[in-house]
Amino acid sequence: MHPVTTVHYLVLSAALLLIGTVGVLTRRNIVIILMSIELILNAVNINLVAFSHALGPDHVQGQVFAIFVITDAVAEAAVGLGILIALFRNKETVLADEIDLLKW
């Protein structure tokens, strides 16, 4: 068996990123769109940590960046779900293509 290299992690991360992108672009349910965004952010984190590992044991800058990405993900999820609740109270729907108030 081949040893696991950085490229393995990069391929896995690219695959996860593409799965998340498909979710964002094709689903109608806003909750699942938000979950797909979490998938994309996790793909980015795998990349950062893999490169941090590849640079040697004394380089943890990539991991620190991953912590900042996680912070952003938390903030995004909180605000996004808040918006979703406000939206559901006013429009009674969670489907993204039924929210077309600004459509001319």
């Binding site: 690219a14 094709t26 640079l55 991991q63 609740i85």
Partner: protein, 171 residues
């Protein structure tokens, strides 16, 4: 050897969880699949010797964000949405676009895979440091990245206020 087997197990968990997340009809099933995927990513962090991030991933993502998602799924009535069409009308175009991007990224990864080996030889020869991973991350976070750390606290404050304003019925 064991590392390789574990990598493929955690990688399969991550990808399978991701695919199930975006294909399930029921949002609760999607959330459970997303937990599987996030646990796979946590295992990958462990394989990459990022023990602190492993703990953060489980406590924050699986324990925090996913509970938030499940609460909202329970609050918002999704039974109606589960009966309707799940994919929008542009799904074919979206799939084609993503396949094109995937082919491009795969091609560049294939072409550039030798460029990354330079960094890896230094990683193999470097001696393991005596201080733990959490200590190293804390050192870096509180010295090099102190300003971004403080800005992140401001971001979280804004997010807290913003989400309360959004979700509250009358302010």
């Amino acid at each position: 050897m064991l590392d390789t087997v574990l990598f493929y197990i955690f990688g399969a968990m991550t990808l399978l969880g991701g695919i199930l997340t975006i294909t399930r009809r029921n949002a609760v099933h999607s959330a459970i699949s997303l937990i599987l995927s996030l646990l796979g990513v946590a295992g990958l962090y462990l394989l990459l010797h990022a023990e602190f991030l492993f703990a953060v991933q489980i406590v924050l993502y699986v324990g925090g964000i996913m509970v938030l998602f499940l609460f909202v799924i329970m609050l918002v009535n999704l039974d109606q949405a589960a009966k309707e069409r799940q994919f929008n009308r542009q799904w074919l175009v979206a799939l084609a676009a993503v396949a094109a991007v995937g082919a491009e990224v795969g091609y560049f990864l294939y072409r550039g895979k030798d460029a990354i080996h330079i960094a890896e030889t230094t990683a193999a020869t470097a001696v393991a440091s005596v201080v733990g991973n959490t200590e190293q991350v804390a050192d870096s976070l509180f010295s090099e990245y102190l300003l971004p750390f403080e800005v992140a606290s401001l971001l979280l404050l804004v997010a807290v206020v913003g989400s309360v304003v959004m979700a509250k019925k009358r302010i």
